[in-house]
């Protein structure tokens, strides 16, 4: 059981580091999805540990929310790509201090 939690934390960390260091908006977004899936793994592990179904139920909600987030996120990223032919988060620097 602890192994699953450890794996979940490792995946979450990989995702978080990916968000911080990658420059392509799509990859950044995929890293966020990886973090969501790491959370799902934690939820399901805890669910088994506690012997109730709340965590598994929550994992379904998280999947639905993740799907909705993909719709919104890709719409925004595609519209940016149409305007600039690039999805690098470094190119998006019109708004500065």
């Amino acid at each position: 059981m602890n192994e699953y939690l450890a794996l979940s934390m490792i995946l979450f960390t990989i995702g978080a580091v990916g968000v911080l260091v990658r420059r392509n908006a799509i990859i950044v977004f995929m890293c966020v999805e990886l973090m969501l899936n790491a959370t799902n793994l934690a939820l399901v592990s805890f669910s088994r540990q506690h012997g109730n179904l709340d965590g598994q139920l929550a994992a379904f909600f998280v999947m639905v929310v993740a799907a909705a987030e993909v719709v919104v996120g890709l719409a925004i990223i595609v519209s940016i790509h149409r305007a600039r032919r690039s999805v690098s988060v470094d190119d998006a620097h019109l708004l500065n201090l």
């Binding site: 059981m1 602890n2 939690l5 979450f12 995702g15 978080a16 968000v19 908006a25 950044v28 977004f29 966020v32 973090m35 969501l36 790491a38 959370t39 934690a42 939820l43 592990s45 805890f46 669910s47 088994r48 540990q49 506690h50 012997g51 109730n52 179904l53 709340d54 965590g55 598994q56 139920l57 929550a58 909600f61 998280v62 929310v65 909705a68 987030e69 919104v72 996120g73 719409a75 925004i76 990223i77 519209s79 940016i80 149409r82 305007a83 600039r84 988060v89 998006a92 019109l94 708004l95 201090l97």
Partner: protein, 544 residues
């Protein structure tokens, strides 16, 4: 920790059928009516011809928000008194997933008013020559022939109204959710429409799309932190309900490291939404890039909903470990006030200045939260919850009003947001500049405006909670912050206008009404704060 527990085969055990949750439809009616308005809005989008659609959508959203306001008032009068460990009014419904209590319903009223004012700003079509301030077709690349054609044919995105209603629904649910799963879903319902709305500006579209992408990536990142914190809290307590977690925390029935990680991760997610330093980086970009009506709506609404949710999580679930999170919140509140105020001084763009000012205000609000003062025997001192509720009301009104004024100060390229362009506005347009001055004075916390009473309230709550050094920092930063608010007044009234300065466009009647209402409300809450203070004082504590 886990191998000690017997593993249960979840699938083979015979379980009783799941009973349907009992819903109290009267108590839930404000949520339901906003949800209905949003869903009917989607249908209108599909079936209503293009001609009357904009008016129909505006009316639908307006009626929805107004009905939510009226029903919230009705619900408030229906709430029962709960005497327990803490005194409160209200009850839970939907199997304990939603709690309708005093602070929650007052937040509903507040959000419904912000929603109404926001919809009124969304509906202004006079400023862009018969079109709304949203892009005609978001799918067209900026500057393309398609965009020009859409502009010529007068195509408009009327989806902004259902999106705003979904965001309003998310905010209202966020403020009253009683378990972490509902809270996460509400967080996403409120965030996803706002990400889209941010990218829909008619002018300066590249900026707007960039704001949407930054808001989306950072927002999704932070909500995952909240979710992972919720998962850890579930791992600690074995339940998502706030009351269940409270019981586990009080009983210390688990691993302390897990508990502290849960509090920290959830606080990161929530502090991001309220725009506290060091999670504020998105605020200036998004406030500046988003269409101004959207900025007005979200600056007021998101902050209100997120603060109530933050307090609900911290006070209800993690009240038992308050001594662990209060020092951290203390530090965040202090640096938020200082950083927000200092950077705001250096801004030359009005929208950006208002964004940093919103960061500073998040700091002032956090002062009230970290006071964590739940009242004493006499019950005469203002509690943290009451003071934050009052502050959110005055901040939201002034913020919507200020952004509405920003909408009206224009030149050939759209809104003229550079501070220097506002020079001499007070001589041309004394009423408009006067109302902007009222909002600035309220932000600065000058007596006879609502902002003064609001600041006094949060500082008093922190003082009663034993955090006097934070109050001292707060008063000093208020003085620093007053500098850039007063500078705007000086620019408007005591500086000569530039050559070819901005013209003040005549907005729709609704925009004017919004500015007047916000100004009157700001002054009224400063001169006669009694009734409103009374209302928030009688809201009681959070009900579990």
């Amino acid at each position: 920790m886990s191998s000690l527990l017997p593993s249960v085969d979840l699938l083979s055990v015979d379980r009783p059928p799941i009973p349907a949750p009992e819903l109290d439809y009267l108590l839930l009616s404000p949520l339901l009516v906003v949800a209905a308005a949003a869903l009917i809005g989607v249908l209108v989008e599909a079936f209503c011809p293009r001609g009357p659609r904009f008016v129909v959508q505006t009316a639908l959203a307006g009626v929805g928000a107004l009905a939510a306001l009226v029903l919230s008032v009705v619900v408030y009068t229906e709430l029962d008194v709960v005497e327990g460990a803490v005194r409160g009014i209200g009850e839970t419904t939907g199997d304990g997933s939603v709690v309708i209590d005093g602070p929650g319903v007052i937040t509903w009223m507040m959000l419904a008013v912000f929603g109404l004012l926001g919809i009124a700003l969304f509906a202004d079509r006079k400023l862009e020559g018969g079109l709304s301030s949203f892009t005609g077709r978001a799918a067209d690349a900026p500057g393309s022939a398609d965009e020009a054609e859409a502009q010529r044919r007068g195509v408009e995105h009327t989806e902004v109204f259902p999106l705003a209603m979904f965001a309003l629904l998310g905010m209202m649910l966020f403020a009253t959710s009683n378990d972490l799963l509902t809270m996460f879903v509400a967080l996403e319902i409120l965030s996803l429409p706002l990400y889209l709305l941010c990218g829909l500006a008619r002018r300066r579209r590249l900026l707007s799309q960039e704001a949407a992408m930054k808001y989306f990536l950072l927002g999704a990142f932070s909500s995952v932190f909240f979710l992972y914190g919720a998962a850890l809290a579930y791992g600690y307590a074995g339940t998502f309900s706030l009351a269940g977690i409270e019981a586990a925390v009080v009983g210390r029935s688990g691993d302390d490291a897990l508990l502290l990680a849960a509090v920290a991760l959830m606080a990161v997610g929530l502090l991001f939404k309220i725009g506290a330093v060091p999670f504020h980086a998105w605020t200036p970009d998004v406030y500046q890039g988003a269409p101004t009506p959207v900025t007005a709506f979200m600056s007021a609404g998101t902050k209100a909903a997120a603060f109530i949710a933050l307090m609900r999580v911290l006070f209800v679930s993690f009240g038992g470990v308050a001594w662990d999170w209060r020092p951290a919140l203390w530090v965040v509140a202090a640096i938020t006030m200082v950083v927000g105020s200092l950077i705001a001084i250096a801004q030359s763009d009005v929208k950006r200045m208002l964004a940093y000012s919103s960061v500073a205000h998040a700091g002032f609000l956090l002062v009230g939260v970290s006071g964590a003062f739940g009242g004493n025997e006499g019950g005469n001192d203002i509690t943290s919850v009451s003071s934050v509720l009052f502050y959110l009301t005055v901040y939201g009104l002034a913020s919507i009003g200020a952004f509405a004024v920003v909408m009206l100060v224009r030149d050939a390229g759209g809104e003229a947001t550079h501070v220097s362009r506002w020079a001499g506005l007070g001589r041309d347009q004394p009423l408009l500049a006067g109302s902007f001055a009222i909002f600035m004075l309220s932000f600065a916390g000058i007596p006879l405006t609502g902002g003064f009473i609001g600041k006094w309230g949060v500082f008093a709550a922190a003082w009663s909670g034993g955090y006097w050094p934070l109050v001292v920092i707060g008063v000093v930063t208020s003085a620093i912050a007053a500098f850039f608010y007063v500078r705007m007044i000086v620019v408007m009234f005591f500086t000569d206008a530039e050559e070819g300065g901005p013209t003040v466009a005549v907005g729709g009647v609704a925009t004017t009404v919004v500015i007047v209402l916000a100004a009157v409300g700001t002054v009224a809450l400063g001169v006669l704060p009694g009734p409103a203070l009374d209302l928030v004082q009688h809201a009681g504590a959070f009900v579990r």
